[in-house]
Assembly symmetry: C2
């Protein structure tokens, strides 16, 4: 498996577009369309928030309806959440308009929305926008790039990824895009993400690979602990690569699952790094915890702590806050066994041994923490399970962005 | 029961002091002492963090040792957490020095520390400081005020409270002080709090009243979801009021418990309002939830949300974020039954009915949210249980304070 330049149009048979429909005030792309002419199987995961936006409920309802899937339509600017019956109707019209353009049934079209909660979808600009998006569909890199730009909200960069792997003799591609900036927290981020692949795979196995990948990637990032009403992750697989269909958990499945994991991890890290107001990517690697779940909870507790995040912003090696965040995670452990190391590329600086500070250079620690991408590596000496979580620093700009998001 | 001006020296027989020992860089008071010559029974609660500072472990070990209690010594500047054996020794010396000055056993002296984690207690200044604090003990209002000032860290104001109630024919006093600013989250805040009372009460009943009060006061505030290693709440009761000893859960007990609750609520709100960088007090009142615990979890989820807090800073009536925070709290409920009202003193503005926005004036909402003290009042229409939680806005200053706390 190797990473390549690309996006959702990289796998065979996928087209995409992103257009300015006029949902957003500024001149920004706001409708994205991803399309496969060939029949697709789909895997997906959605927000666990009790309050779910209309498109999320729609997607859940069509995911296992027995029809082949062909498209995902996404908009930014309006979340279509907390809109009652109107929201359900508008969302259906959203899917229906795409279906009409592409000769599909509405139930073959996934929808996703992100933006302000509690305002109606401006259908008078969305419906013409869909016509335009359908016309603009393209299998070029540009098509996928436009789509990835159309789903940005407070994101500062569009996020795409692609990789290629070989299943038997057959070259298989996976491409993806995501948005997500604030309101990002495990289970899941305010993220919309679409991944396309030309692999030929049984739908139940695809879902299994999707669920497994999400657990240790999208669900291990946090910007602000808020979990949105709209989180949606959809994978479409159209089989055009022509590999022998994957129907059991054989070597081919494992290779695909690993590649899908790498794609999700790449997008997850990009989202954490581009957290609202973030200047730096913060990683916490937990080793030797009592269970996998303990390791996950500990890692997430560290990267979610406002105090750790603010200290990271100030490049302050305030390891007491790291130990403190481990301590209130709810996981039972012996603090006097914990070691903490700051890691930054090849450099490693031990700062805590057996739960106490050792003699380290504050100057070196500060220098390492001032870099773009730093890990707190924590050895619990308590078991055999590891996990990694990703977050970002807490900055003035986070407050600024979220103090006047709607205006 | 009525609130009066006062603090820990208001109840009969209590003395206090606060002195500059030189633990902190600046010329600030940093050792506080609270003392009762008469024997006291004690009730207390402590941090649930797995990482506990040395003074917390000490207090837990002496709480039920059968000896009468007489004093609480507190310092700011150094947390004495994550210091291993050295921390245990230093803390014992801390208690021992107070015991020597006041003719007590060390096991009759509670200790509490707040400040930087992982640095040693500077005993060379602390021990002389204790001598000074013992000399300065005073039963005046000034003595209690000095003590409340000596435990401040990033607090911008000292926090004290007092109330008087009548048990039978007897006048009883309760006085308190607390510190806590950042790292404040349920179970419990980074708070140190000492409450004194001259009531005559059985120790087990005192503990019961303390535990009950904490649950819906100190444990219902959050500044940043971080739970510290040092949280300590100690109540000393010396019986000098002369009321008939409370030995059952009779009317007198209920009256005392209600007064203690009011004292804790007052201190809790003061701490939330003085959260690091906070400019405003945010209250969330939940009504008609399915259970008491559901109501608590929902209320805390709203006041803990960084997105709600940032919107509150910007006086933005972003009710979608309130509904969203309810939704990811983990509580099961029907979003289409939820009503939300903004309340500010006598004014009430309905903004959400049945989970959807109603036609309200953004201008009025913004004006109300720009005030110092605002509530989101949420009716779940789902049961008969209520709860209230307190927090604050998320501001540039929170980031500033915590980006360079140690420097």
């Amino acid at each position: 498996m190797k990473k390549i330049n690309g996006n959702v149009t990289t796998p065979k048979g996928f087209q995409a577009s992103g257009v300015m429909a006029g949902i957003r005030k500024k001149n920004r792309k706001d409708i994205a369309l991803v399309y496969s002419e060939a029949d697709c199987v789909a895997g997906a995961t959605f927000t666990t928030n009790r309050v779910k936006a209309a498109p999320v409920n729609w997607d859940i309802s069509i995911l296992r309806n027995g029809l082949s899937k062909h498209a995902v339509v996404l908009n930014s600017g309006i979340a279509n959440a907390c809109m009652g019956e109107q929201g359900v109707k508008d969302n259906f019209a959203f899917a229906e308009a795409v279906a009409k353009e592409l000769n599909l049934k509405p139930e073959q079209v996934f929808t996703a929305s992100t933006g302000v909660i509690g305002q109606p979808m401006p259908m008078q600009v969305i419906l013409p926008g869909i016509q335009e998006a359908a016309k603009a569909l393209s299998d070029t890199n540009e098509g996928g790039k436009n789509a990835s730009e159309a789903i940005m909200t407070t994101d500062t960069v569009s996020k795409t990824v692609a990789c290629e792997l070989t299943i038997g003799e057959t070259k298989v591609m996976i491409g993806g895009m995501s948005k997500g900036s604030g309101m990002i927290h495990p289970n899941m981020a305010t993220m919309l993400s679409v991944v396309t692949t030309d692999i030929n795979i049984d739908e139940a196995l695809l879902q299994e690979a999707v669920s497994a990948a999400v657990k240790d990637t999208f669900n291990m990032i946090s910007v602000d602990r808020d979990t949105s009403t709209n989180d949606t992750f959809i994978v479409l697989a159209n089989g055009l690569a022509g590999n022998e269909k994957i129907v059991t958990k054989d070597k081919a499945y494992e290779e695909f699952a690993a590649a899908l994991f790498a794609v999700c991890e790449d997008l997850a890290k990009k989202m954490a790094h581009d957290g609202e107001g973030a200047t730096k990517l913060l990683t916490c690697e937990i080793y030797n915890a009592k269970s996998k779940e303990d390791a996950r909870v500990l890692a997430k507790s560290v990267i979610s702590s406002n105090l750790v995040k603010a200290a990271f912003f100030g490049s302050d090696a305030n390891w007491g806050r790291v130990l403190c965040a481990l301590g209130y995670s709810g996981v039972d452990f012996d603090p006097t066994k914990v070691d903490i190391t700051i890691a930054q590329e090849k450099d490693k600086l031990d700062i805590v041994k057996n739960g106490m500070a050792i003699d380290y250079s504050e100057e070196v620690a500060t220098m390492m923490l001032s870099k773009d991408n730093v890990s707190f590596v924590v050895d619990m000496h308590d078991g055999a399970f590891d996990a990694t979580a990703w977050g970002c620093d807490l900055t003035y700009d986070y407050v600024k962005i979220n103090g006047d998001y709607r205006s």
